[in-house]
């Protein structure tokens, strides 16, 4: 079987993989939004570019698992730098995030441009990680993305009780003797993982939207955390599939922006249509 209803088999598999990423990003993003860390992954997202370029330079290969492993290392390193800045300087959090984001993106661009300028074979395609491009993904790549996403969702399902309590009332959780800081780091690490697996589809610049917009759209429809996570996952899934479909049809269109616009459209509709969630407003 090479096609279904005229759609190439590979496109279907890729769409399924990216759909899984969209779902997981919505679920995990919801926890980030509930913990008031909506943009926790943004600096890490911009830093992934360094990892992608460095992984390519070190290994000379362009296999997705290699590049994404590099991206994950860079993402975690950037979060580590953020922690260090908070711990050792008096720079405020918002500025620290902007510093890590801007400087790491600059380093990523420097590496990418250097690779391009030297004409290293295979280096040209790395720019696709800026804005996302799913056309080049293989079925194996999609399988990897789906597997990581499934593992992330499973982890959240296991620790849902813990994550929700820490997000709602960290002081109470700490009074129970829970390691709130560890749980917080785990959450941020999960967001970083989602940012990394979201990279091929949404790109470093826009992947943050994948963990922010579906959750806030879902929040308009429900007052229960569990339902919100599920809905956010579905909205993420629909947006991801729409992005893949659109860029399959329109040749030069990057997937990232399309996914974001789809999610934004669902958010706008949710604002208009959802039964008045706001008290008093």
């Amino acid at each position: 079987m090479t096609s279904l209803a005229g759609i190439p088999y590979n496109t279907l598999v890729v769409a399924a993989g990216v759909a899984a990423v969209g779902f997981a990003a919505g679920v995990i993003g919801s926890l980030g939004v509930l913990r008031k860390r909506a943009l926790a992954g943004d600096a890490a997202a911009h830093a992934t570019l360094v990892g992608v370029a460095a992984a390519f330079l070190v290994t000379g290969r362009r296999d997705l698992p290699v590049l994404l492993l590099g991206a994950l290392v860079a993402a975690v390193a950037s979060l580590g730098v953020l922690v260090l800045i908070r711990r050792f300087t008096r720079t405020r959090d918002d500025a620290a995030t902007a510093i890590v984001l801007g400087v790491s993106f600059g380093l990523g661009i420097t590496l990418l441009s250097g690779i391009t300028a030297r004409g290293i074979p295979g280096g040209g395609g790395l720019e696709q990680f800026l804005l996302g491009h799913t056309a080049a993904l293989t079925a194996a790549d999609a399988g990897l993305l789906a597997a990581v996403s499934a593992a992330a969702v499973l982890l959240v399902w296991l620790g849902l009780k813990e994550a929700v309590l820490v997000a709602f009332d960290p002081d109470f959780a700490a009074a129970l003797g829970w390691p709130v800081t560890v749980i917080d780091y785990a959450l941020v690490a999960l967001v970083a993982v989602m940012v990394v697996v979201g990279l091929p589809a949404a790109g470093a610049v826009l992947v943050t939207a994948l963990v922010v917009i579906p959750p806030v759209a879902a929040r308009q429809w429900t007052d229960r955390a569990g339902t919100m996570l599920l809905l956010a996952g579905l909205i993420g899934l629909v947006s991801a599939v729409a992005g893949v479909a659109a860029s399959a049809v329109v040749p030069r269109l990057a997937t990232g922006p399309t996914i974001v616009l789809m999610a934004a459209a669902i958010f706008a509709l949710s604002l208009l249509l959802a039964p008045g969630r706001r008290r008093g407003a």
């Binding site: 500025a95 801007g102 922010v212 706001r278």
Partner: protein
């Protein structure tokens, strides 16, 4: 050959000059953004102005032209308004609201650029990180000279920002420091903030061709954050931020030329290095100087403890309960040796005695300790047997004036709550 070389040099010089002016403007605006904790908004605006720029270009505006500048400012204000609306109407947290707005607007911008790529002179990668290297090739004639168009725009915007900063400095300062008090004093806080946001948009759009939408974030925030670690007053901070930015522009461009890579990216990297250097080396807030200060304090405390221990053993010896102080750690044995070498202790290991100078120091420490215990006994519900430990670390922080004040409060006493004598002030 020579003419070609000097033409090359002129090209580089123009590119560097443009980068320097562009990042100076960003640094100036960024200073206010950073102290007002609005770095996130700077980030959001720099992304979000993209669709405004694209629409203006599609409508026939030239990059860097008036139409584009106005469109960028309008989009920036729209971004902020949308963020506020999502906060108040949809109940989103500030960062989530900003995240929704700027990613959406930026995505719209990218889609527009892609769709209109055939018709306009913007390409997606330029949007992301700019092409500083191409700036010198697009020139206008100005007073008989060929000047890069981007430089003219950047210089004009910088002039405007500088003038605005100088004219409204008092208002910006008051608003940044305490918005509520500023409002009470009749300063139009909303207008001042809107002005700052418009300035951010202007600085961003002027930088667009040179460094692109994302690296602007680094240009806005890093110089100011670096300056904040080095100096403590706002005017100085702005000046240092501009110097940091100009240095990054020059060094970044040259390094990029040397390594044959993106100049804008390298400028951001140099800014990062400058920030790192400041974080480690800053005179009072640097990691290094704070580590030295902590080490110095630990050393002083150890020396004072050693002197006090000898003093107390001499006090006990007077009661016939002699007990020679000994070093219990390497750190302390080094301290004992240093105190002997510097003439504060005489004698030998196991039989240290205080010199006259050492006695003054020791009595000051013991006096601090016992006065503090007397003070605690007066002001807190603390049983006698609990008095000792806290006084151990307070004694090293008491100065003469506060000691006098404590003495005045507890009354000049012969003895502390444990019944031991409080030595008189010797310094």
């Amino acid at each position: 050959m020579n003419a070609w070389l000097s033409e090359q040099a002129a090209m580089h010089a123009w590119a560097i000059a443009t980068a320097a002016v562009v990042s100076s403007g960003c640094a100036l605006v960024g200073t206010l953004l950073v102290v007002r904790r609005m770095s996130l908004l700077g980030d959001a605006i720099s992304h979000a102005v993209l669709p405004g720029i694209v629409v203006a270009v599609l409508a026939g505006g030239r990059p860097g032209g008036m139409l584009v500048l106005v469109a960028a400012v309008v989009t920036a204000l729209l971004t902020v308004w949308l963020t506020q609306a999502l906060k108040s109407r949809a109940g989103l947290a500030e960062d989530a609201a900003a995240g929704v707005v700027f990613t959406t607007l930026f995505a719209a911008g990218v889609v527009l650029v892609t769709a209109a790529a055939a018709r306009i002179d913007l390409d997606p990668s330029c949007v992301l990180h700019g092409i500083l290297e191409l700036v010198p090739f697009d020139t206008v004639r100005l007073g008989g000279f060929e000047v890069p168009r981007a430089f003219v725009t950047a210089a004009a915007v910088f002039g405007l920002l500088l003038a605005a900063a100088i004219l409204t400095w008092k208002e910006q300062l008051a608003t940044a420091f305490d918005p509520a008090a500023a409002r009470a004093a009749g300063i139009p806080v909303g207008l001042v903030t809107t002005g700052l946001l418009a300035a951010t948009a202007l600085a961003t759009v002027a930088s667009f061709e040179a460094v692109g939408a994302i690296l602007v974030v680094a240009m806005l925030v890093v110089p100011a954050a670096t300056a904040e670690l080095l100096v403590h007053r706002l005017p100085w901070m702005a000046l240092v931020a501009v110097i940091v930015a100009v240095f990054a522009a020059c060094a970044g461009y040259l390094a990029a030329w040397w390594f044959n890579t993106s100049a804008a990216g390298m400028m951001a990297v140099v800014l990062g290095l400058e920030y790192f250097a400041a974080a480690v080396l800053a005179p009072s807030d640097g990691v290094l100087s704070r580590a030295v200060a902590r080490l110095w304090l630990a050393w002083r405390v150890t020396c004072e403890d050693c002197l006090a221990a000898v003093w107390r053993s001499e006090e006990l010896a007077a009661d016939g309960r002699a007990e020679a102080p000994t070093a219990v750690s390497l750190w302390q044995s080094v301290a004992f040796r240093w105190l002997a070498a510097s003439g504060q202790l005489v004698g030998a290991q196991g039989a240290w005695r205080l010199s006259t100078r050492g006695r003054v120091e020791a009595e000051t420490v013991v006096r601090s300790h016992r006065l503090w215990e007397a003070w605690l006994g007066r002001h807190t519900e603390l049983p006698l047997d609990h008095l000792h430990p806290p006084a151990e670390w307070i004694e090293h922080h008491l100065g003469a004036t506060v000691r006098k004040r404590i003495e005045a409060e507890v009354g000049v006493q012969e003895s502390d709550p444990h019944g031991r004598s409080i030595p008189p002030e010797r310094k």
